[in-house]
Symmetry: C2
Subunit: 273 residues, 2 copies
DNA sequence: CCCAGTTTGTTCCCGCGTTCACAAACTCCT
DNA sequence: AGGAGTTTGTGAACGCGGGAACAAACTGGG
């Protein structure tokens, strides 16, 4: 499976001295034919661009051709000043005194994010969650094309999911190489996640969306985003507990819990998928 | 209007609450000497506490009784200084020169988050994703008890999911009231999300985990956390595009895309579920 | 008992992100 | 054409979170 991926620029395999180059600031070429210094959109802004994109699509669906920053901001659920500053990082795509052209801005954001391209994606681990992801229209409708569903369970091999079939995990490297996959989704149990991750990375994947409840270690240059469903609930629980503590005095159950119970209750967590 | 809700500490004006103080007297050392500034754990810290909790559980599984901040930090994938500062907000649960007792710290974090309690949860929208959530062991294993699965599709009524059965959406209010549900999970299509949200809120739910790709508007005092699977992928795509742009010179394709193509490509997005 | 070694808890500093406020720029009406 | 009204884009202030560095506190050995 050497796979020496041809395209994709060779992916800087060595990259030399240990990952220090997490951020190269010296980038000589910037002029060429550019007009805007596109270098360096803040991470917080990048995380919001998809939200704006979705809001713009909704507005376009309603036949709205132009919108002000205030309207778009409320549609996206953010502050209008923040929205304007975010958009200013992309360039000046609005018109003062008028607002933003919905279609135009929609395209600009889509291009900036990269969803005007086609991104081949492989999903590994077709359990309950992987099943849901494979059928999630939000993926395929936004430039992400699922090229393979992989699972290590031989019993599931060939099982149809949506319009695809589950393939064996042994095909991972070949598929990644053939379709030039850059983005991988891990939906396996925690125990298998790191192994799958390693195989994806050596195959050439440089971006990973991890649903497994474990910390993945990857070499520098590989991006990992983690989505942990139970963590979100726990954060809500914390705030809920706060609310319950401040207002009513009614709930005076036992705040303490036997340590034995805790052991039993939490012991199973480690192998949660 | 709808100017930023998120009144974290601003709310709770009354705070009357003589009874709430009976929370933890079982604190010999901290009793009256040091006023515990437990009010106000930074949001960023709260978001990491579940990660630490998971790491501690993993360590406990391996039979490790004590760990240093360095060990726990690497297990959680964070900086050790950050970990110590985070834990310092909870109190002084470590021992200098020694480290942290795994079981003790695990319990303290679990208590702080609130997962030592039992949180009844209702899931609305049992499509692919709701199905996965209902079977997600990460929920039930951490104090969250799913009390009902609701769906508006009459054809699905009574369908077994895991050990439960799908019930009709019309039972929402009764179930929320009966079980005193404070946390609701929305996994419906975007179009139905706001309506479900409103019913949950009027029923008494004050924390919502939203998987629908839409912005929910809720009254002050209600927390909403949003998990958007496609947004995560788009963020990865952005960085991936960046990587591909910086290295190779073969980027001479067309950065422009026909507007007609764009219309077709993005038009479908709005109705993604 | 005292000293060396270890590790936590905390303080200080810095950089990022958010927000305010305003000049610049565009439209529309007279 | 010119002024009034709007709305964008951005400079500056500010608060929060991250990281390093250090004092405090505990253990263990002699």
């Amino acid at each position: 499976m050497t796979s020496t991926r041809s395209n994709r620029n060779g992916a800087a395999p060595g990259e030399g001295a240990g990952g220090a180059a997490s951020r190269n600031e010296a980038r000589p070429e910037v002029s060429a034919s550019t007009r805007v210094p596109e270098r360096g959109i803040p991470e917080a802004t990048v995380a919001r661009l998809p939200i704006y994109l979705r809001a713009l699509i909704t507005l376009a669906e309603r036949g709205i051709a132009t919108c002000s920053s205030e309207e778009l901001a409320t549609a996206a659920g953010v502050n209008s000043a923040k929205l304007r500053k975010d958009l200013s990082y992309l360039g000046s795509y609005g018109t003062r005194g008028v607002g933003y052209d919905v279609e135009y801005l929609r395209y600009q954001i889509a291009r900036e994010i990269g969803v005007t391209q086609d991104w081949p994606v492989v999903i590994v681990g077709i359990g309950n969650l992987g099943h849901a992801l494979a059928n999630y229209s939000g993926f395929t409708s936004r430039g992400f094309r699922i090229v393979a569903l992989l699972d290590s369970d031989p019993a599931r091999l060939g099982e149809p999911v949506g319009q695809m079939r589950i393939r064996g995990i042994d095909e991972l490297e070949a598929i990644v190489d053939e379709h030039d996959v850059a983005i991988g989704v891990i939906a396996t149990p925690a125990a298998a996640a790191q192994g799958v991750c390693d195989r994806l990375v050596t195959g050439g994947v440089t971006s990973i969306l991890n649903f497994a409840p474990t910390v993945l270690s990857v070499p520098a240059g590989v991006d990992v985003r983690k989505v942990d469903l139970s963590i979100e609930l726990q954060i809500l629980a914390y705030h809920e507990q706060r609310k319950a503590m401040s207002a009513p005095a009614a709930q005076l159950a036992e705040p303490e819990l036997a340590a034995a119970d805790l052991d039993g209750a939490l012991a199973r967590v480690v192998e949660s998928a």
